[in-house]
């Protein structure tokens, strides 16, 4: 998908081969994301000076993203919101991955267990994803925990499907049959023969879950569920900006959303390029 990205680099780094370029892209984007998270830890949004003398300023050199109606610097708020989004995304991805591993191993245990897992996947996919997150977050009493857990509990379906298919294919392999005939237990085969094959898939899947989790978190927050209005989450910044749209303060919505888009793209790029490294056969497509 990201050959467009690679083409850009073809002219940028003429001396490097494709593998080196892929590493370079991964390194650069990871660094970008890491610096966002770290710098968001250091800026303290609560103590942002509310300076009514400089409210609703259009973007300038001093305030690259402009300021809001309380004179707060939008760049700082956006940075903090992105940090929060990435942390929530990380949490959701990790939980989803753990669930995937558990359900994947369960589905390898036997026919009944496998049909249970596929039934569970179908059930979760039967309700529109956004509505499901809303439902779960309400069930948990709303608030930040409600949204975070709602996002975390609903993103395992696609990865579980991939893992399940992979397990099915692995189980037809010769060496698994031999191992079974040698009298190894199901658990032994699952953890010693199947799991090691799945680890790269799962790692990649976890990274590719990030963008979905981040976008869903921002969407649900934007709709008004969860995080309290003081938190500088991207969803909240954007829903606040809606009140000032007709006043023409376009920068309040434009830059935070664009930054979110870039973060999501960065995760996509890392995932795609890691996939290329792990599956060199298709890398030259």
């Amino acid at each position: 998908m990201s050959t467009a990205v690679v083409t850009v680099n073809r002219s940028l780094f003429p001396g490097l081969n494709l593998r080196q370029k892929t590493f370079l892209i991964i390194g650069f984007t990871s660094l970008l994301l890491l610096s966002i998270v770290i710098s968001s830890l250091f800026v303290d949004g609560d103590s942002l000076p509310t300076d009514f003398g400089s409210k609703n300023l259009a973007p300038s050199l001093e305030h690259p993203f402009g300021t809001d109606w309380m004179g707060r610097d939008m760049f700082t708020r956006t940075l903090e919101g992105l940090g929060l989004s990435i942390v929530i995304g990380a949490f959701a991805s990790v939980i989803s991955t753990v669930l995937t591993i558990i359900l994947g191993l369960l589905s390898s245990a036997g026919k009944t267990a496998d049909s249970f897992v596929s039934w569970l996947v179908d059930l979760f996919l039967s309700i529109p994803h956004l509505l499901l997150i809303i439902l779960i977050s309400i069930g948990l009493g709303g608030g930040a925990t409600g949204v975070i857990i709602g996002v975390a509990l609903t993103h395992w379906t696609s990865l579980t499907r991939v893992v399940r298919a992979e397990i099915k294919q692995l189980k037809t392999q010769e060496y698994i049959h031999i191992s079974r005939n040698l009298g190894k237990s199901k658990w032994w085969i699952a953890t010693k023969h199947i799991l090691p094959h799945l680890i790269p898939q799962i790692l990649l899947g976890t990274i590719l879950l990030f963008p979905h989790a981040i976008l869903h978190e921002a969407s649900v927050t934007f709709l008004g569920f969860g995080l309290s209005p003081h938190e500088p989450a991207i969803g909240i910044i954007l829903s606040e900006s809606m009140r000032y749209l007709s006043a023409g303060y376009w920068w309040l919505a434009f830059f935070p959303g664009l930054s979110l888009l870039i973060v999501v793209l960065a995760f996509d790029m890392i995932g795609e390029n890691l996939g290329k490294l792990m599956d060199p056969k298709n890398a030259h497509e």
Binding site: M1, L123, I127, P128, L135
Partner: protein, 329 residues
């Protein structure tokens, strides 16, 4: 044999729909039941009331009845076609959903159609000119689209077209201060364009990428090579041998995307304050209108189910390759 197959298919799918609805009912009811939110508080809102009245309302809403009993009551009413009364709209949930869903249907149908056609055409065009600058441009466009937050794009469109250019109204599906009879068809369309445009543009990505991949696959097949050897080329070749093979899977995929379509509608309706089912869902969620929320969950599950069902029908009954396979068995 044909009738037998259709009968079996209908039977299987009906059973599946019923079991799905039963499970969704139980699961969503259980989830909402866990919620610490008080339905009486949600009903009376900010009003202050006497303790006796509160007790009466408690009894009316069944605050103190055990959950099993409450569920059975609710389920019994559903079987009768009664989803309860919405707390925020003060009217039967079925009426609210009917009204809201009709409004949303116009939005969803138009954007579904536009994104499908546009995505298919772009995908075919990109696949035909694989590796060219044009192909790369479409690919990059799709790539960026999948990373774009729906509500942000909606906000950007609102800022450009409504606030800056003033071409479209800022919200609502009909003009304010005009009675229902006086709302013209043109008014409705004018309020529909921006939300539909947002949803259509975002929906393009998936279908375009899929069509492109499929077309590439088909174009590298032996029969296309043979057709080329016979002297066919360009658009004719693609029209005759490519599109026929790509169209069916693409349409199937478009039907499978009902779940995402619904999610996108929720967000877009919120930004454009379009009074559809998505906005009702958000309002029900934010103001703990449990009957309405459960009703919308059920309706959306049915909606997604029918999308999948149509995809299955296309696959099982319309795809000539499947028919041929069965004939040979």
């Amino acid at each position: 044999m044909k009738h037998e197959k259709i009968g079996l298919f209908i039977g299987k799918k009906t059973l599946r729909l019923i079991s799905l609805l039963v499970v969704v009912c139980i699961a969503s009811f259980w989830i909402v039941e866990q919620s610490p939110i008080d339905p009486v508080r949600a009903y009376i809102g900010e009003m202050s009331i006497q303790p006796e009245q509160k007790a009466k309302l408690d009894e009316y809403w069944g605050v103190n009845t055990p959950p099993q009993e409450k569920f059975l009551n609710w389920a019994e009413n559903i079987l009768k076609g009664d989803l309860g009364v919405s707390l925020i709209y003060r009217m039967p949930v079925t009426d609210v959903i009917k009204e809201r869903f009709t409004a949303s249907l116009a939005l969803m149908a138009s954007s579904w159609l536009i994104s499908g056609v546009l995505g298919f055409v772009l995908g075919i065009a990109a696949g035909m000119h694989k590796g060219t600058l044009f192909d790369r441009a479409i690919k990059t466009y799709c790539y960026i689209l999948t990373a774009t937050p729906t509500f942000w794009l909606a906000l950007v469109f609102l800022m450009i077209f409504s606030v800056q250019l003033g071409w479209f109204p800022i919200g609502l599906s009909v003009p304010i201060g005009v009675t229902a009879e006086n709302v013209t068809f043109f008014d409705r369309i004018q309020h529909l364009i921006l939300p539909a445009l947002t949803l259509s543009l975002l929906g393009v990505a998936q279908i375009a990428m899929f069509t492109r991949e499929k077309l590439t696959e088909v174009m590298s097949s032996d029969y296309v090579l043979f057709a080329k050897a016979r002297g066919e080329k360009g658009l004719d070749l693609v029209l005759r041998h490519g599109i026929r093979n790509v169209a069916l899977p693409a349409i199937t995929l478009q039907f499978l995307s009902f779940s995402e379509l619904f999610g996108g509608t929720v967000l877009v309706e919120q930004v454009f304050s379009y009074p559809g089912i998505g906005q009702a869902a958000v309002a029900a969620g934010l103001r703990s209108d449990v009957p309405l929320l459960l009703g919308i969950v059920l309706v959306s599950a049915v909606f997604v189910f029918f999308g999948n069902l149509i995809a299955d029908i296309i696959y099982e009954f319309i795809d000539p390759r499947i028919k041929q396979q069965e004939a040979t068995i």
